[in-house]
Symmetry: C2
Amino acid sequence: MPRTARSSTRPAVAGKIEKLVSEIVERAGKRKEPALDVPMRTLSNARYNKVKRIIEMGRATQNREFFKLGTAKSFMQTLLVASGCKRLIDEGKTASIRQVYYLLKHSIPGTREKTFNDQSESDPILEDLEVTIDALREELHVFADSKGAMVGEIILTDAGDTIDCTRLGTGGYAIPSIVEPEIIRFKKCNAKFVLHVEKGTVWRRFVEDRFWKSHRCIVTHGGGQPPRGVRRLLYRLHHELNLPVYVLLDNDPWGYYIYSVIKQGSINLAFESRRMAVPDAKFIGVRSGDFEKFHLSDDVKIAIDDKDIKRAKQILAYPWFEGKKEWKKEIDLMLRHGFKMEVESMMTKSISFVTESYVPHKLKHRDEWLD
Amino acid sequence: MPRTARSSTRPAVAGKIEKLVSEIVERAGKRKEPALDVPMRTLSNARYNKVKRIIEMGRATQNREFFKLGTAKSFMQTLLVASGCKRLIDEGKTASIRQVYYLLKHSIPGTREKTFNDQSESDPILEDLEVTIDALREELHVFADSKGAMVGEIILTDAGDTIDCTRLGTGGYAIPSIVEPEIIRFKKCNAKFVLHVEKGTVWRRFVEDRFWKSHRCIVTHGGGQPPRGVRRLLYRLHHELNLPVYVLLDNDPWGYYIYSVIKQGSINLAFESRRMAVPDAKFIGVRSGDFEKFHLSDDVKIAIDDKDIKRAKQILAYPWFEGKKEWKKEIDLMLRHGFKMEVESMMTKSISFVTESYVPHKLKHRDEWLD
């Protein structure tokens, strides 16, 4: 049996799939139409939970019946994806969403009809299954492409292998797409916090300067917008090890957005916020006021365009930015300045300014953070 | 001193920069115009060396003079980039190409002129410097974003840390952008060959099935078109450890192109082929004939379009495909079939068909490889 999948999740999620199917069989036995209720993954069914401070999915559902022309195909596809995931779980293997598509694609006997015509049909059905049985895609043994890396004061086991994240050279630990507890276990952690930076190029500066050692921390990056594996890992580091999560991003609307996804979750994946969002994450920079505070030169300025302005206003209008006066001031200042700044522009001061001066300053001055 | 940069390269490349500069100073001392000869990185100056079987840069150069209006700025920029790289080398640090841009951007005293207006000005100058002093970008301490990973029967040291690539869980070793011998050293290798696959999603199947263990090998991927770090690592594994390199790619023009870059190098980076190309690499699949050979179903077929046809014909016209009858037959068959296939489509047979049947078959039947 491959070492990547452990029997511990098997009963839980496999059981949910079995329950889903046996309910349909039961209905059929009572001569009722075989049908499924699938929660709706639409914008109108996503809402911000002010108490939990995360984006959640509402209760609206959509009925899929076997004997209705409009839903018969999606009913069949949902059960097919469920059977495919069950097969992956039973065999202790994982697959990409594209591989799931290939695994389940075939001609329906006696017809020229395909189960799926292309991957754009199987991807949403997989998300339907996730919400219907309340399981993460990763628990269904399906993964996305991975990006992002980690280095620092933590020892973990990955599929049984011990990984000491203080001894990984310059490459670091490549954060896999599936980081569920049955694969990744935290063994020993000396870190006091997690510093998450936007990109691999910035992260490398922190690795070279051994920032994680001098500040006793973990440093992660997500290759831009962090993929599910990175978000889930941040969630686990925060919730299981009580590590605060500090986020260092570019001073632009894209940076604001990445922060809001790490903190509250996204609208698209609203149903996963509660297993991925870190509402206590803090934004430590780059802030517009840093331009004056750190006497940066004009060389760091990147003029904003209409798209940036539009995006910034959209972000301010999100319910989860509502009432956050500091954020409103922050974004207004960026718009008034008329320029944005990247973390990498700290190089205009000196090669290691970001690790030796900027972040240490920010760690000391909590009043400069944004919530 | 950071552990990522060792003093061993310092004299070599730093010395080349010093030589470049002292020659200019010497010319000035003799009252000659300060000038530089920069090899031309154009298509017309790239050629295929049939003996070495790699793409090389020709001997054409371009003169950059300080006292000529048309070249004064690029002369200044070239020396500026040289001084920035010297500074990185001296401080034992590395930077991304974007960071180099920020590091060197400033106003020229007494003018409103900037040294670089944006990164599109500094990137080509950096490549100019590489060819002028005959040093890899990585030797100049400048890196690109990294992608790609490795797992298997090898133990290496990365910046002093020992990395056992048989014990890295599901994430594997993230291949860094800089893999020069002063950072990455091969300690012990039990592998008989390297299997390079196109994408991370395919690579993960080989990791889960522990293919590297049952076949005593190393398995790498390059996240699509392999970045410089991955190509350089394949080169080193092949040339220093005598490991054959077998390549598994999609059956489409993009796959053919990736293979040709791994094997002969690319036109854009012609000057680096001799430190990155692996002319003895073998293409083990996916081949068009595999459709019949492995009784694949129609579900694997992806119809080719005009772009695919055009690209396939371009590739056949490359001098390095000239006279390769087997490749001509191969590409002609794909065009005649009218469809392409992805490695991931092997899932239509079974989850582990690719690792348990397809690749083992290919490893046994060398007559099915393409050179």
